[in-house]
Symmetry: C2
Subunit: 227 residues, 2 copies
DNA sequence: ACCTGAACACCGTTCAAGT
DNA sequence: ACCTGAACACCGTTCAAGT
C-alpha cells in the first residue's frame, strides 16, 4: 500500500512531538515511515514544502466554531486558539517561523482577522498593520513558551547557572529584582502563561482602540470612503 | 599572525551580509578567513556560540546616547534603534531568533527597558510582560522586513504568482481588497516600513498605558509597595 | 504511480598531530 | 597557544532503475 501525502504529514507530526524539530530530518522521517529518504520527494517537492504543509496543518480548525462578540473579543478568541494550536505540538512555533508559503488554512485565518477589523470600521492600513502586530505577538509568545519548554527538557540548570553568574555582577539590578523571588526561571518563563498572554492581548487590543478612536463611528461609511 | 575571536565575528558578519544566513556555515566561514574549519572551534565552543556572539554584536551601542524623555518616548527610541540595528545586517532578525544565551549587550538592553518602566511606576509583572510584548514586536517586525527583502532577492515573481493564483479563488475578499491597489506585494511588504513600525509601536505603548492607568500615580510609592 | 539504491555535494564537530 | 588534516556521523537532494 502506497504512502499518501497525509501519512507523511502525520508521521512528521509524530516525529516532531517525540523528538523535536532538530530531529525532523528527511532521512529520519523516512525511516519512521519505513521508506527510503527519496520516497518523500515523490509527495513533497522539498523539505520547505513539507514544512509549509506542517505549519498549514497547525492552522486547521482554528476558525471553528466561528468566534462571537465584538471585534476585539473575536480577535482575542482567534489569537487564543492560534497560540494554543501552536503550543500543542512540540517546537511548532519555531517550525511556523520557517514556513514560507501560506496554505488555505493560513490564508483563511488572515482573511478572518482582516474581515473582523474591516467590518468594525477600521481602515485598510490600520487593519493590515494591526493584524500584523497581533500575529507577531502570537508567534513571539508561542516561541517563547516553547523555548522555555525546550530549555527545561535539556536541563534548565546549565542555562540558569551561566545566566545567574552573569547577573551576579550587579550591573543588572532590575533584571535581578524581577527575577529575585522565583530565581532566574522567572526571567525565562515567568510562569502563568495564560495570564501573561492575556495581558499582551489586552495591551494590543486596547492599543488598537486607542490608536483608532473613531473606528466605530466610521462603520457605516466604511464601504464608501474605503481608505 | 593568529586569528582572534573578533576577527572571526567580523568575517562572519561580512559573509552574512554578502551571502545570507544559509551560507553562514562553519566551513565557508573558515574558507573566507583562510583557515580550516576546525580552527574556528578554538575560538568558539560550537556554532551556537558563534551565533550568540553575532546576535550580541547587533545589540552593541543601542543604548548610546541615552534615550531622553518620558518612559514611552524612551522605550520607543530604544525599539527604533534595536530594529534599525537588526535590519542593517542581512538576515539578522532570523539569526537573532536562533540566539539562545544573551550577552552583556542584550542583558543591558533588557535591563534598560525594565528600568525605564519600573522608574515610571509600573509593577514588576506589567514591566516584564510589557517589555516582552515590545520585544516580540521588534523581532517579528524585523523578521518580516527581512523576509520580504529575501523574497525580493530570490525573485518575488514566483512567490507572487503562486500566491496570486490562490487568492484568485475569491475565497479571500478582504485579503484581495487590501492588496488590490499595489498587487500582492502590498500583502507581503506593504511598503512604508517606518510608518508601519511606528503604528505598531504606538499601539503597544498606548495599550500599556491603557492597561495600567494608575502607573503614574504609583510612582512615588513604587519602592515601598514593590508589587 | 510509487519507491529503492546509490550517489553527490554538502554539513557540524572532534582530535591527534604539527608548529 | 593556535591551527592543520583527516576523519566521523550526519544532512538534503537527485535520479536511474526497478516494480
Amino acid at each position: 500500500m502506497s504512502l499518501s501525502r497525509n501519512e507523511v504529514i502525520d508521521g512528521a507530526l509524530k516525529l516532531l512531538d517525540k523528538e523535536g524539530l532538530d530531529a525532523l530530518t528527511m532521512r529520519r522521517l523516512a525511516d519512521s515511515l519505513g521508506v527510503q529518504a527519496g520516497a518523500i520527494y515523490w509527495h513533497f517537492a522539498d523539505k520547505q514544502d513539507l514544512i509549509d504543509a506542517l505549519a498549514e496543518s497547525f492552522m486547521g480548525g482554528i476558525l471553528e466554531p466561528a468566534p462571537k462578540g465584538r471585534w476585539d473579543a473575536q480577535l482575542a478568541e482567534i489569537s487564543r486558539r492560534t497560540v494554543s494550536a501552536l503550543v500543542s505540538h512540540r517546537d511548532a512555533a519555531r517550525l511556523a517561523t520557517l514556513a514560507l508559503r501560506p496554505g488555505p488554512n493560513g490564508l483563511a485565518l488572515s482573511e478572518a482577522m482582516l474581515r473582523i477589523m474591516r467590518d468594525a470600521g477600521f481602515g485598510k492600513r490600520a487593519t493590515l498593520w494591526a493584524t500584523s502586530v497581533l500575529g507577531y505577538y502570537m508567534l513571539g509568545y508561542a516561541t517563547d513558551v516553547q523555548a522555555t519548554e525546550a530549555a527545561k527538557a535539556r536541563g534548565l540548570k546549565a542555562v540558569i547557572k551561566s545566566l545567574d553568574k552573569t547577573l551576579d555582577h550587579k550591573q543588572y539590578p532590575k533584571l535581578r529584582e524581577i527575577t529575585r523571588n522565583k530565581g532566574i526561571e522567572a526571567l525565562i518563563s515567568s510562569g502563568q502563561f495564560e495570564a501573561r498572554f492575556e495581558y499582551g492581548l489586552q495591551v494590543i487590543l486596547s492599543g488598537i482602540k486607542a490608536t483608532q478612536p473613531s473606528a466605530r463611528r466610521r462603520r457605516v461609511s466604511a464601504r464608501r470612503t474605503n481608505r
